[in-house]
Each structure stands twice: as C-alpha cells, then as structure tokens.
C-alpha cells in the first residue's frame, strides 16, 4: 500500500511539472490555435539562462532572468517568424515551429555541449517524509508553483479582457481586429508568457531527482502533448488535470512494470498515450476542451 501511495505521490509531483509544460502549450493554442512544437526549445532556453547565471547572481535573480529570457525568446519567435506568415492555415504554422525548434535546439545544445548544468536551486536533494512515504522538496515546490500559476491563469483568462481578446483573436483574426484587439500584441504576449512558463517548467525539470540541465532536457516536452490533449487543448484546468493524469499514469506504469511484463517492459512512456486514446474516444475534445460545434 505504501508503494502505491509513494508511486501516486510521485506521479502527482511529476505530473505537476508536466502540467506546467502543458500550460505553455495551452496558452499558445488558446491565443493562436497553433500547436507549438518549439516549446521544447523554449524550455531549454529558459533553463539554460538560469543555469548559466545562477553562479554569478544567485538562484532567484537567475531564475527571474531565465523567465524573462525565455519570454524574450518566445516573443522573438512570434515577432520574427510567426507574424510574417500571411496565410491562415494553422497546421502550416505548426510546421514553422518545427523549423524554429530545429534552429533553437541546435544552437542551445551546441552551447550546452556535453555539460550537465546545475541550476543552483535552494532545495537540493532534500526530501519531505510523510509517514513512510518520501517526496522531494523540489517536487513539492513544483506542485505549488503549478497550482498557483494555473489558478492565476485561470483567473486571468476568465476575468481580464486579455483572455477574451486571446480567444477572439484565435477564432477570427479579422473580427477580433474589428473589436479593437491588437492582434500582434495578443500573440506576442501569448508567446512571451509561454516562454516564461517554459522557463519555470525547465527549472523543475532540471532540479533534483534529475541531475541538471543538459541537451536532452527538452525531450520532456513530448510528455506534455498527451497532457495538453487529454485535458483539452484550450483549457487551463485541462492542462493541470492532464499533466497530473500523465504523471500518475507514468509513475504507476513504471512502478508496476514487473507486474505488467506481458505487455512488454518500459511501458512508462506509452501508458499516458493509451490513457489519452481512451479518453479521446469518449470525449473527442479532451476532458475540459471546448466541444466541437455541430450546427448549421
């Protein structure tokens, strides 16, 4: 039973990191309807800046600069690339982000080289022990951060005009412009926010239990795909629930893999996708996503 509790807790804590990554996806999708494949490189950029700077200016300032830096990179992608596209097809823009990702990841991995960069976080490898179950303090921090950020965004989307402007712009650029929405600003803002979120997520991806930032850190962004989808691509709540679902599924599938050998070993990565498929069969727009309209 404690094993189960420990795996569950571990899943929740892992899931909170995924939720943060998924939130970044969701923000961009909400504002622009683009599936952002460059999110991985934003992660890497944010983590890199934090990791490089923490020795000189201390952890918290470095994190702040990291968030700002990634936000800047996000904004730059929007300003230099996304904005230049004159067509309307969102899948085309998704392909553009693949190109951007290749560029950025190549540059960042070149800079990171073979290093494993520590980010100098204050939590170290300290753990919290609850009964017989332990959880890393970093993960508690991640859980709190994810909870706070997602709640904050939920409120912002619901109660400020920014959220309305974002959704309006995503649905119809022309009509949104007619409402006085400054399209450039909205998508620039979304990309910047997604960048900042990626930097926060990168922090939690590179602290204890993982040794630090290195070139393949960005691959974790892949896990956020099923998270974002099964929650519903345009839902902040969905990002949280999706992230946690993926985290828990992965943790349980890994922890009990010895009991599941008939399915082959190493189910941890596959299981979230299977859960996602099942959920999509029942709810084609994810758990919290906006349902497709069906009227003429």
């Amino acid at each position: 039973m404690t094993t189960f509790a420990e795996l569950l807790l571990n899943g929740v804590s892992l899931g909170s990191v995924y939720a943060l990554i998924a939130l970044g996806f969701v923000v961009i999708f909400k504002a622009t309807e683009v599936v952002n494949f460059a999110h991985a490189s934003l992660l890497l950029a944010g983590g890199y800046v934090t990791a490089v700077l923490h020795d000189d200016i201390g952890f918290w300032p470095a994190l702040l600069v990291g968030v700002a830096g990634a936000a800047l990179v996000g904004a730059a992608i929007e300003f230099l690339v996304m904005r230049r596209y004159r067509g309307r097809d969102h899948s085309v823009l998704a392909i553009v982000t693949i190109g951007v990702d290749i560029l950025l990841v190549t540059e960042l991995t070149r800079r990171i080289g073979t290093d494993v960069l520590a980010v100098g976080d204050p939590w170290g490898d300290a753990v919290l022990t609850i009964g017989s179950v332990t959880i890393a303090q970093t993960r508690v921090a991640a859980l709190i951060a994810a909870g706070l950020l997602i709640t904050a965004f939920l409120l912002v989307f619901r109660h400020t005009s920014w959220g309305v402007a974002m959704r309006a712009a995503a649905e119809s650029a022309e009509t949104a412009a007619l409402m006085g929405v400054r399209l450039g600003r909205v998508s620039l803002g979304a990309w910047a926010v997604a960048g900042g979120l990626a930097a926060v997520a990168a922090l939690f991806l590179t602290v204890f239990p993982t040794p630090g930032l290195e070139r393949s850190t960005s691959l974790a962004a892949m896990k956020a795909f099923p998270a974002a989808i099964l929650g519903g691509l345009d839902s902040t709540t969905g990002a949280l629930v999706g992230g946690l679902t993926v985290g828990i599924t992965e943790s349980l599938a890994t922890g009990y893999q010895s009991d599941l050998t008939f399915l082959g070993r190493g189910l941890g990565d596959l299981a979230p996708y299977l859960v996602m498929i099942v959920i999509l069969l029942v709810r084609p727009a994810g758990l919290f996503g906006t349902k497709e309209l069906a009227r003429v």
């Binding site: 005009s161 309305v164 402007a165 959704r167 309006a168 649905e171 119809s172 650029a173 022309e174 009509t175 949104a176 412009a177 007619l178 409402m179 006085g180 929405v181 400054r182 399209l183 906006t290 309209l293 009227r295």
Partner: protein, 270 residues
C-alpha cells in the same frame, strides 16, 4: 460620446487584380444616418472594410483616396486604431465568435472601448434590453444560436463599444420582420444619442426610411446620391431596390420562368 463626421474622398480599393471601388466619395455628416444601396458585388462591403481597415484580411487593399473622421485625417493603418478612434462595425455575415459564449462575445465587443467600467455595464444592460434573448442565452456558445439570434448578437456586440461612428453591414439579414423593425428603431435611437451611422442594407425600404442621405453604388462606383426621401421616390431605386408591388410579382415570376430554359428531369440512363 457624440458622433463623428466621416468624409471619404476618391476612394480606390480592390482585391489584387480585382478592382472593387473606383473613386468613391461619401459623406456621413455628424449625427446622421447614411445608407448605401447596391446590388450583389457592388462593393458595399468593400467600402465598409476600407473604412474599418479590414480589407487586408481579405487580400485587398486601399490604393487611393483619403478619409477624414471628425475633420481629422483618418488614414491609420490598423483596424484597432480605427476602433480606438470610435469606429465600430457590424461585419457582413455576423461573424460571431462561434466557440465563445454569448457573454464573452459581448465582452469582446467592449474590448476596444476606452470608457469606464460603468459605461460598459450600462452598454451591456442596453443590449440585453434590446435583445432579451441574449441575456437568456448568455452562457450558450454563440455558434449554437439561431441565425437571427447571431445577427442580434453581432449588432449588440458592436453597440458594446459605444462608438462614434457605427458601420452596419446588412444588420437585418435573416431577421424576422418584427425584429428587423426593432433593429430599425435601435438605429434611430443610437443615432438620436449622437452616433453617426453608415448603413448598408438590402432591406432598402427600411434603410431609406432611417437614412437622411443615400448613395447607390454600382459596380464600384457611386451612380446616385442624394437625400433619402428623394432617392426613395426615384423610379430606378423603386424598381431595383424597393421591389415591385405584389400583384405583378406573380406575373414576373412566371414570365421569368418562361424566359429561362426549363430544367428537364434527370432520367438515369442506367
């Protein structure tokens, strides 16, 4: 809030190689209602898009002419500037944000408005008064509304911005007669509060009743202009835009059928 006079001079606009407007000049005096009549493809929507700066979204562009709003040059390049200057448009074909709720659509309408919170609340109350169904359905996705309800939403949304110049592209499209009349009253009322209105409407009878001035646009050019009452009396306008009287309609219809090739039934030869 008060209205603003719009003066369009020698406007030339088109979509790539397609020219849609040629040297169009139109005046909307402060606090007036001006209507533009014209057949399909005459360029009415293009004119409104040119004013609200949304031509680029259709692959079109203004290539000549000048505009002034309230006496000041009005050649800003972006749609949001136009909105900030007090121009608000009901676009052709409703264009409600289908996946957003009715409530959020109305909030979106107020995005460009600079007024205080209370002004927005008041605008919302008025819209709800005007179209009670929008209050009833405030949590429904706009795309699920009926056609006419969507049209009401589109008009209500434009009113949320408390504009100085209101551009209406076929506001009565798909509205039941009763509701079309109510839109007419609303336009009159808004105008009464000082907003200038530029109205494009297929329901020419309604439009001419509301307007002080009218223009007839044909294939991109202004062919007739003058006080609305005068135009309403002209034969040309009566025949083409007001429709003939009912008795001849049936003849007309049958004459037309005789004139055109009759469609034979399809006999599947297999």
């Amino acid at each position: 809030m008060g209205g603003a006079a719009l003066a369009v001079r020698d406007l030339v606009a088109g979509y790539g190689p397609v020219s849609a407007l040629r040297d169009v000049s139109i005046d909307v005096p402060e606090g007036s209602v001006v209507t533009v009549l014209g057949g399909n493809g005459a360029g009415k929507s293009t004119l409104l898009r040119a004013i609200s700066r949304t031509l680029s979204f259709h692959g079109g562009a203004v290539t000549g002419g000048t505009m002034t709003l309230g006496g000041r040059p009005f050649d800003g390049r972006r749609a949001d500037r136009a909105v900030a200057a007090g121009v608000s448009q009901v676009p052709e074909g409703r264009q409600v944000f289908a996946r957003m709720t009715v409530e959020d659509n109305l909030r979106a309408g107020a995005l460009g408005a600079s007024g205080p919170r209370t002004a927005k609340a008041a605008a919302l109350r008025r819209v709800h008064e005007l179209f009670p169904v929008l209050a009833e359905r405030s949590r429904q996705q706009a795309g699920l509304l009926s056609g006419g309800e969507q049209q009401m939403l589109a008009v209500g949304r434009a009113l949320m911005a408390s504009p100085r110049l209101l551009l209406l592209d076929e506001p009565s499209l798909g509205l039941a007669p009763l509701m079309a009349a109510r839109i007419g009253d609303t336009i009159r009322e808004i105008n009464g509060q000082g907003t200038s209105v530029l109205l494009v409407e297929q329901n020419a009878a309604l439009a001419l009743r509301l307007a002080t001035h009218a223009y007839v646009l044909e294939v991109g050019e202004v062919t007739l202009a003058g006080p609305a009452a005068e135009l309403a009396a002209s034969d040309e306008v009566r025949r083409r835009y007001l429709g003939v009287v009912d008795e001849t309609a049936a003849d007309d219809a049958s004459r037309a059928t005789e004139a055109r090739p009759v469609l034979s039934r399809w006999e599947d030869s297999r």
